[in-house]
Amino acid sequence: MSHLVLQQSIAQLGKVVLGKEPQIKLAMACLLAKGHLLIEDLPGMGKTTLAHALAAVLGLQYQRVQFTSDMLPADLLGISVFDAQNSKFDFHPGPIFTQLMLADEINRSTPKTQSALLEAMEEGQVSIEGETRPLPQPFFVLATQNPVHQSGTFPLPESQLDRFLMRISLGYPSAAAERMLLKGINPRSLLKSLQSTMSLQQLADLQEQAQAIHASDHVLDYVQRLIQFSREYEGFSYGISPRGALALISAAKAWALIEGREHLIPEDVQAVMPAVMEHRLRASSHGAAAEALVDIVLNAVDVIQG
């Protein structure tokens, strides 16, 4: 049943974001694992469309914030304004008070603003002027960033990167998808026709189910071997943190749910590994490998160790 709903959602999303099924599935898995998603790509690759479509399909409130270098935390969180008539401060909530927030080009803002997002992402609440205010449930941040080498960017610090469950990139569309775009069929126009496929309650149930996926000792052993390798391999500056390990497990479980399985298998882990791990690893100076860092780990660690 849940599998069906998920398939339906993915099919819906596929109509809008053409030819990007793996990324769509990863994005779904990220939301099912209650994680935040970072999409890194060049401008104009369909990041915003994906975020918009996700909100529409899941039936979530949606706010979009364009991050700029002169943006202040108050612009994001909200501000108290003095109401002369009633002689008191009124709180005007910022765009963060929503269920799905698209933080567009997050690395254009200053670290100050970036870290204002931190508490919100981690705790599901914000503290403004000494008062703690809860955010709506569920709360997702879907951030996009331009590749860091582009001008006018403040790279996200490791601590903040670690708070994103996944980092994906969309990449160029396939030739067929591009042809459709060129033909003038604008997927954006389809956004309005998208139906939400599930209620909030259903989403919460799905998240519950993802958590309940059975992870046997063998798959946990595999995950631990992966983590251990990342910590010991001298080609990396540092290994995966325990939070990273937890992220890997919950993302893999969500993936298993999308695949319609009730138990976790190494393929699930391998499927989410690049998205979950790549932004958490950094090559050390004497290990500049041509292949992706995650592939080094995946190829070296035995799936089954007798």
């Binding site: 059975h214 046997s216 000792d217 976790l264 190829n299 089954i304």
Partner: protein, 682 residues
């Protein structure tokens, strides 16, 4: 200003505990004021640790140490004996507490502690002392561990447990070293200055000095008979020394035999000059006769600090530095200041000097002081005048004892001038030495050569360990008379008065004694049966300890080499030492390997591993990052014929790994896989 070293607190506590444990047993042998020195040192050290006092300066320490040494010299008079030297060591052990300026000092103190703890064994080698030494070592090790341990928790349990474990681990190696390490004789010996005269009797006998021993149940010696069976109690007369000289009151050795070392040297000289006496020749002939009945036994004697060995009549002892005297008694070159072992063979039927008695000997053994004990002399002379034979005279006196006398421990002082007369004609009660003395006087007065023999009578047979325990309480005195054609013959006048004493042995006599004899002072000596039994069992343990561990000396080691190693060459010893150590290390290595051995694969992993093994045999090896399904599909490309089967099997084996164990699906998969297992053939 330099940093002041502070000993870690747990290490300090352990150090003090260990010191207390080490010092405690030594206090029974050393002056008690050493305890005060220790207490003061401890107090000072604690105040230093608390930061109240400073560490003592050299101007305090040097006079302190010197005055302590002076005090030792004052209390012993001489520093070069065992006890003062141990006391000196102990003093250093205590005073070093004032001078813990670095970790090295603490280490030194602890190492000194091991040395001090070992000195305890110089005074006592009982099994209790040995076990106590182990406890001392364990506490010292605990202190050592506390010194090096990084944690500051104050619990004492873990360290002590760890030390016991260490000692336990050391035991196998210690055993190897004990049995195999070549023994070197002691380089020097320091005599114990006290303890002399604590046990046993001296080389003279006067009324009262044997009855004093009767309260002492400490072992005198233990006898291991070759037949594992004791001769009857009444024949167990352990002869120690014979006394021929008499001054009217005391029985002593004749003047020319009184100095043991001189006597020994004279005997040794005679032997070296091959000067064989008739009596020796005679005994030798008797020994070589086939019919001669003999008893073989081995005596483990406690330190007596006297040179005499105890044997049954008529014995031959062949030990180094032991010589036989003319009365078939045995003299060691040096006083037995430690436990010693000797083998003896006794010929109970042999008649000693039956042919004749030399004039000198006859004179010596019939000599009585002219002016003492006139009444006794008169009575014996009267018997002789009646025409009694020697036998009749002996019997008359024994009858007299039996009729009129009582065996009693109540020790009223006898008349100083004529003690024998006093005993024979007025007191008429006494202990073995009174009877032996009076009897011998009577015999001599009747012109029968007679002498007093000191030794032990009886003993307690230990049924479990099959040995005879002779305690100080078994000390006894009896007489020997010389009769023509029969030679020296034992006569025990006590047997005439209290035959049960001889039949049953002293302890049994006390136990069965009726109320009738209580008035004679024996009741005080009686032990509760339970206590007696306990004592006997304890003695059995001690005996095993002595005979198996302590008596293992150089000679026994040679026997051991010969028996177990097949020879006593050096290479054998070295090989065994190395082999045993290697063996023990190998055991340890094996154990470590066993602990870290790979575990058997889980049941759900087995089906896949089997397939993997089969494929590996066919030349397909899975890459580490490859999942089983990727792997088998790779294989299937090369072997399309196997594709369906491989895919099915892999899917099941793979799923088996990740679904909850014990679920229905799990069971089903196991079953299906078992069916498929044999159908995969490459």
């Amino acid at each position: 200003m330099s940093l002041i070293y502070q000993i870690p607190r747990p290490a300090l506590w352990w150090l003090l505990i260990a010191q207390a444990v080490v010092i405690l047993p030594l206090m029974q042998y050393l002056p008690l004021w050493l305890l005060v020195v220790w207490a003061v040192s401890v107090g000072w050290r604690i105040q230093v640790v608390r930061g109240v006092y400073g560490a003592p300066k050299a101007i305090v320490k040097v006079p302190l140490a010197l005055s302590m040494v002076a005090a030792l010299v004052l209390s012993y008079g001489n520093l070069f004996a065992l006890e003062p030297l141990v006391a000196l060591l102990l003093l250093a052990f205590c005073l070093k507490l004032l001078e813990l300026r670095s970790q090295r000092d603490v280490l030194l103190l602890l190492l000194l502690g091991f040395f001090v703890a070992s000195t305890q064994l110089l005074f006592s080698t009982s099994i209790v002392a040995f076990l106590y030494a182990l406890v001392s070592f364990a506490s010292l090790l605990s202190a050592l561990m506390a010194l090096y341990s990084a944690t500051t928790n104050n619990s004492f349990g873990p360290h002590f447990k760890q030390s016991l474990l260490l000692i336990l681990q050391a035991i196998p190696l210690a055993l190897v070293l004990f049995f195999v390490m070549p023994r070197i004789g002691s380089l020097w010996t320091v005599p114990l200055s006290s303890n002399t005269g604590k046990t046993g009797f001296s080389n003279s006998m006067e009324p009262g000095n044997i009855s004093q021993l009767n309260k002492d149940y400490s072992p005198a010696f233990r006898v291991d008979f070759a037949e594992k069976k004791a001769p009857p109690q009444r024949s167990l007369y352990w002869r120690g020394l014979s006394l021929s000289g008499f001054d009217g009151r005391r029985w002593v050795l004749p003047a020319h035999e009184r100095n043991d070392l001189v006597r020994y040297r004279r005997l040794a000289l005679n032997q070296r000059n091959q000067k064989r006496h008739d009596w020796q020749e005679d005994f030798k002939n008797y020994q070589s006769k086939d019919r001669s009945r003999f008893i073989d036994y081995q005596v483990m004697m406690e330190a007596s600090f006297q040179p005499w060995l105890f044997t049954l009549v008529t014995a031959s002892v062949k030990e180094k530095d032991v010589l036989a005297t003319k009365d078939y008694l045995f003299l060691s070159k040096r006083p037995l200041s430690q436990r010693s072992l000797y083998r003896a063979r006794s010929y109970p039927d042999y008649k000693r000097q039956s042919e004749s008695l030399g004039d000198g000997e006859r004179y010596l053994n019939t000599l009585l002081p002219a002016d003492s004990n006139p009444k006794a002399k008169a009575m014996a002379k009267e018997w002789r005048q009646r025409g009694y034979s020697d036998r009749q005279i002996i019997n008359s006196s024994l009858e007299l004892f039996n009729r009129d006398f009582t065996y009693s421990l109540q020790n009223a002082a006898l008349n100083e001038q004529d003690p024998v007369d006093d005993f024979l004609f007025s007191r008429k009660r006494g202990y073995c030495e009174h009877f032996a003395s009076a009897f011998t006087v009577l015999m001599r007065a009747a012109d029968i050569p007679a002498r007093v023999v000191l030794g032990y009578q009886g003993g307690q047979w230990n049924k479990d360990e099959k040995y005879l325990l002779v305690t100080q309480a078994d000390a006894h005195a009896w007489a020997e008379v010389w009769l023509p054609n029969e030679g020296w013959t034992r006569v025990d006048p006590t047997a005439a008065v209290a035959p049960e004493r001889i039949e049953l042995g002293f302890r049994a006599y006390l136990e069965q004694a009726s109320t009738a004899i209580e008035q004679y002072g024996f009741s005080d000596l009686r032990q509760s049966p339970l206590l007696a039994k306990l004592q006997l069992q304890l003695d059995a343990i001690n005996y095993s300890w002595h005979s198996w561990i302590l008596s293992y000396d150089q000679d026994q080691q040679m026997v051991f080499f010969q028996k177990v190693l097949g020879g006593r060459e050096h290479w054998r010893v070295v090989a065994v030492l190395m082999g045993a150590s290697t063996f023990m290390l190998a055991l340890l290595a094996l154990w470590l390997w066993w602990r870290g051995r790979p575990e058997a694969p889980a049941a759900e992993l087995v089906p896949w591993l089997e397939l993997e093994k089969k494929l590996a045999a066919g030349g397909w090896i899975r890459e580490p990052g490859e999942t089983p399904q990727q792997f088998t599909s790779r294989v299937s490309k090369q072997r399309p014929d196997l594709e369906a089967l491989l895919e099915r099997y892999t899917k099941m084996a793979y799923t088996l790994l990740y679904i909850p164990i014990g679920s229905d699906q799990h069971q089903q998969l196991l079953k299906d896989l078992a069916g498929l297992r044999n159908s995969i053939r490459l």
